[in-house]
C-alpha cells in the first residue's frame, strides 16, 4: 500500500535500557502497516542541516488515539540525539509505511525469530501476525551486553522458547547468536527463519540455514537517506529468481530479502556479473557467475 507523509505527534518517548522507544500518533500509517515495514522521519527541525531522513523499523502499532506507531532507536549521531530530546506533543515529519514486509507462511509453521540489538524491534509485530496463522515462535535474541538485548521479556512471555546470547556474557550465553542457532533449529524443527541483524550476522545466519535447507527472510540494515527510492543510496547486490544479479535498493525492493538471494560476500561491491556492470554480457552472465 502506498506510503503517506504526515506530521505525527509524539505521544511518548521512553528509555528502554540502552535504547529509546518513540510512539507517534499517526493513524494513516498505523492502519496500513504490515510487519517488517519501516518509516522515515526528518530530523533537526525546519532549518535542519542534516538532510537525510532517518529510517526505523516499526516496532509496534496500536489502535489507541486512532492509531499509533512505535519505533526503537539508539541515540548515537546528531539525528538520533535530536530525536531523543523530543517531548510529548512535539510533531515529527513522518513517511510510511515503507518497504517490503515479511512474507507470512500460508500454513502453520515453526518460526525462528532472530534479532540483534534494537534490530529485534520489528520481530514482535511479526510474531503477533504469525500466531494468527497458528505458527509457533522461537526467539533468539542477542546484543553486545544485557542492556542491548531488546525485547527479551516479551520474547520469554509469548514465545515457545526464547534464547539469548551476548558478546560479554552478561545475559544468556556468551558469544554470537549464531552459536545457538543450530541447536534451536534442530530442537524446534524450524521451518523458516526471520532475521533482523547487522549484515555479517545475516550472512552467517543464511549460511547456517542453508545447511539445513531452511529459508531465511532477512531484514537488511543498510544506511538510507530518502527511504522512497529516489536517492539510490541504499543499494546491495541481489540475485533475482531469474538468476540475474541486480543492484537493488533496500528501501523499495527490501528491506526484507530472501537470505539466499542476497550476495552477502559482495556487499559494498559491484559484482562483475551484475546487470549493467562494466563489461556485463547478458549472453554469458548466469553461467559464468562463479568463474574467477
Amino acid at each position: 500500500m502506498a506510503p503517506i507523509q504526515i506530521r505525527g505527534t509524539v505521544l511518548t518517548l521512553r528509555r528502554v535500557d540502552a535504547y529509546h522507544a518513540l510512539t507517534l500518533v499517526a493513524p494513516a500509517i498505523a492502519t496500513k502497516f504490515r510487519p517488517g515495514q519501516f518509516i522515515t522521519v526528518a530530523v533537526g527541525g525546519p532549518e535542519t542541516s542534516t538532510l537525510g531522513r532517518r529510517a526505523f523499523a516499526v516496532h509496534d502499532v496500536r489502535p489507541d488515539h486512532g492509531g499509533t506507531v512505535e519505533f526503537v532507536f539508539e541515540a548515537r549521531g546528531p539525528g538520533t540525539r535530536w530525536l531523543a530530546a523530543l517531548r510529548a506533543r512535539d510533531t515529527l515529519d513522518t513517511v510510511g509505511p515503507l518497504g517490503r514486509p515479511f512474507p507470512i507462511p500460508r500454513d502453520p509453521s515453526s518460526c525462528l525469530l532472530l534479532g540483534v540489538g534494537y534490530g529485534s524491534a520489528p520481530l514482535f509485530a511479526l510474531a503477533a501476525r504469525l500466531r494468527e496463522r497458528g505458527c509457533s515462535i522461537d526467539y533468539l535474541l542477542g546484543g553486545e551486553s544485557a542492556d542491548r538485548v531488546f525485547g527479551a521479556l516479551t520474547a520469554r512471555r509469548n514465545g515457545r522458547s526464547a534464547a539469548v546470547a551476548t558478546t560479554d556474557g552478561s545475559f544468556g550465553a556468551r558469544g554470537p547468536v549464531t552459536g545457538l542457532m543450530e541447536q534451536i533449529i534442530r530442537e524446534a524443527r524450524t521451518d523458516v527463519i526471520y532475521a533482523c541483524a547487522p549484515v555479517p550476522v545475516l550472512r552467517e545466519v543464511t549460511a547456517i540455514a542453508g545447511r539445513y535447507d531452511i529459508p531465511v527472510q532477512a531484514s537488511v540494515d543498510v544506511p538510507m537517506a530518502c527511504g522512497t527510492g529516489v536517492c539510490m543510496g541504499c543499494v546491495l547486490p541481489v540475485t533475482g529468481t531469474d538468476g540475474i544479479t541486480r543492484i537493488v535498493r533496500s528501501c523499495v525492493d527490501g528491506p526484507v530479502f530472501r537470505g539466499d538471494l542476497v550476495r552477502w560476500d559482495d556487499m559494498g561491491t559491484i559484482p562483475f556479473d551484475a546487470l549493467g556492470a562494466p563489461g556485463w554480457n547478458p549472453a554469458r552472465s548466469p553461467e559464468s557467475r562463479y568463474a574467477g
Binding site: A42, S49, L51, C226, M232, V235, G276
Partner: protein, 320 residues
Amino acid sequence: MPADMRARLGPGVQAELPNLVLAAAGCAGAGRELAQFVDVARVGALISKSIMAEPHTGNPAPRLAETPSGMLNSVGLQGPGVDAFLQRDLPWLLSRGARVVVSIAGQTIREYAGLAARLSDTAGVTAIEVNLSCPNAEDAGQLFALDPQRAGSVIAAVRGSTRYDIPVFAKLSPDVTDIVAVASACVAAGGDGLSLINTLLGMAIDPATMRPVLAGTYGGLSGPAIRPVAVRCVWQVRAAFPDVPIIGGGGVRTGRDALELLLAGASMIAVGTEIIHDPSACSRVLKELEEELASIGADRAVDVVGQAHGRIPRGLAWRA
C-alpha cells in the same frame, strides 16, 4: 489572485510548462517514487535520472554521505538504459500527465548524439537536458563539462541529432574557473537553454576508519550548502546571456530560495536534494513561491526573473 507561474523551455507549444518548479535530474527516481507524494502532472516538469545507452550498475555502496546542510553522492549514474526507459518509465510518466525532460549522459560524443536521436523518434519528450558532468572516454576520463570546447562539441552533436522542436539544455558544472566561458560555448553550439548547477566535487573521510566515506572516494556535493554557488553561477550566466532560458537549481529548499534564483536570472527552478529530505518538496516549493510572489505584488513569475540585475519593470508594485 495567485501569480501566473507558467514557464517555457522553448518556443513551441509543447515546451510550455504549467509552472516553473521542476524536479531535478536524479532526485525524482523514475517518477513513480515521487508520484506517491505529489501529483506528477502538477510538477512543472520531471527531469529524468540521466539516461545512458546501456544499463549501468553505478558505483558500489556507500554512495552517500551527509555533510553540513549538504549531501555527497557518488551514485555513478545507475540506470536501466535508454531502451528500458522508453519502454517502461516514459510511457508511465506520460500516462500520468507529466511533462518529461530527459537527462542524457554519455561517455563519448557519439553516445550523446545517439541518445538524442533515439529520443527524437519518441513522442512525449518535452526537452533534453545534457548532463555534461560525465567522464569523456576519449579524453582520459576528463569531464566534458570542464572544458568549453568539449562541452560545446557535445551540445553541437546533440542539437544536430535532436528534432527541431525539442529544446536542448546544457547542464553545467560549477567546478570551473569561468562558467560563462562554458555557457558561451554551449550557446554558440546551438544549445537552447542552460541548466545550472550540477554538484560540486567534494570528499568526506571517516576519522574512525581513517578511510574515505564514499566507495567512489569523491562525490558530488548538493543541498543548501551549495546554494550561494548556484546563485552566483546563475547571476553570471544571466548577465552574459540575458535571453537564454536558465533552469536554476542548487540547494533550493523553500519558495524563498526559489525566488532568490529567479531574481538572479533563472526562469525555471529545479528542486533536487530537498526531495530526498521532503518527498513533497516540489509542490510545497511551488506553493511557497506563489506566496512569496503575492507578498511582493508580482502578477507573473516571469516579471521577477533577473530583477536582481537592476531593471524594474513597469507596473510591478514593490512592497514598501
